[in-house]
Subunit: 183 residues, 2 copies
């Protein structure tokens, strides 16, 4: 697990079709038609690459043992055949966030923003994955990834709305929403 | 700060003279005469390189606001002219450690092993620096770095003894001690 890089590669084609790219905060990402997720450092054909983001799964940074167990029990797997819609949402947090101590970040994320609790209300409909990239020198701090069936699109909109209304999101200064459908 | 890589390069010569390398747990590192710390990804001359480790400063992972303030007030700067001795101690923690939840790791590190409290008793004599490298796919999880005057060598031995006797150290499966003196 440690140090296993996952690459998200956007280009003229890919396993997922890009149906929209919106800059929610800050600068956008370049227009592209398709997106592919590659595990490991396998090089992508230069020709097909419009942008590429990298992240690692890493360890949990905030979840307690009790939360970890709830998450593990409730988390649906990725790549379910019925999950024909997806979203990649890279986010970057402010310098002020990263200067906070662990207990301050935990208080905002868990106690006041209820990030984990919000997410847990949308399983099993919406499967999620989190990749870390701040320490890799990438333009974002996290790559967040979602998969769901098209009948749960409005639930996904609710999930994003709840998260974006939280105190935690005041510390986000770049966020790009890349909407996907199975190619 | 984010993603700014620091390289530690061991070779035939360097700004620090390597006076000893000991594998405390697990595999050692190759014998070398000198060591240089380079900020950023400036390439090192291949000729001079015997081994190279990389890490990033990253954000605090466990310290509370109160602990962060104590640390900031008490931490001596690096590169003090009188600090003629140093040590690089790369460490790797077990898979069992990384599978623990945040509150379990914090309980072992802070409440039961008193890692921060131990370190704070040795300032200002011993200056410390911590670099993270697990997510970079490096052979170690952390590069720990120490600087002190030779008159504090025995205090440094006490510091290492206290840390290695702690519960936290049961989760360390590779540790190499590289002792240094100003070239």
């Amino acid at each position: 697990m440690a140090g296993t890089v996952t690459q998200v590669i956007a280009g003229g084609a890919g396993r997922w079709r890009i149906t929209g790219i919106v800059a929610v905060r800050g600068e956008s990402l370049g227009a592209a038609e398709g997106l592919t997720v590659v595990e490991g450092v396998v090089p992508a054909p230069e020709r097909a690459k419009i942008w590429r983001l990298r992240g690692v799964a890493s360890n949990l940074r905030y979840a307690t043992k009790a939360e970890q167990q709830v998450l593990a029990a409730a988390s649906p797997p990725l790549a379910r055949p019925e999950a024909d819609c997806g979203a990649l949402i890279p986010i970057r947090k402010t310098a002020a966030w990263w200067a906070l101590a662990q207990d301050e970040r935990r208080a905002i994320l868990a106690d006041r923003s209820r990030h984990v609790e919000i997410g847990s209300r949308y399983v099993p409909a919406i499967a999620r994955r989190l990749l870390h990239c701040r320490d890799l020198g990438e333009p974002f701090d996290f790559l967040t990834w979602f998969e769901f069936n098209r009948e749960h699109k409005s639930a996904f909109a609710d999930l994003l709305g709840e998260l974006r209304a939280s105190e935690e999101w005041r510390f986000i200064d770049r966020e790009v929403e890349v909407r996907l459908e199975r190619g």
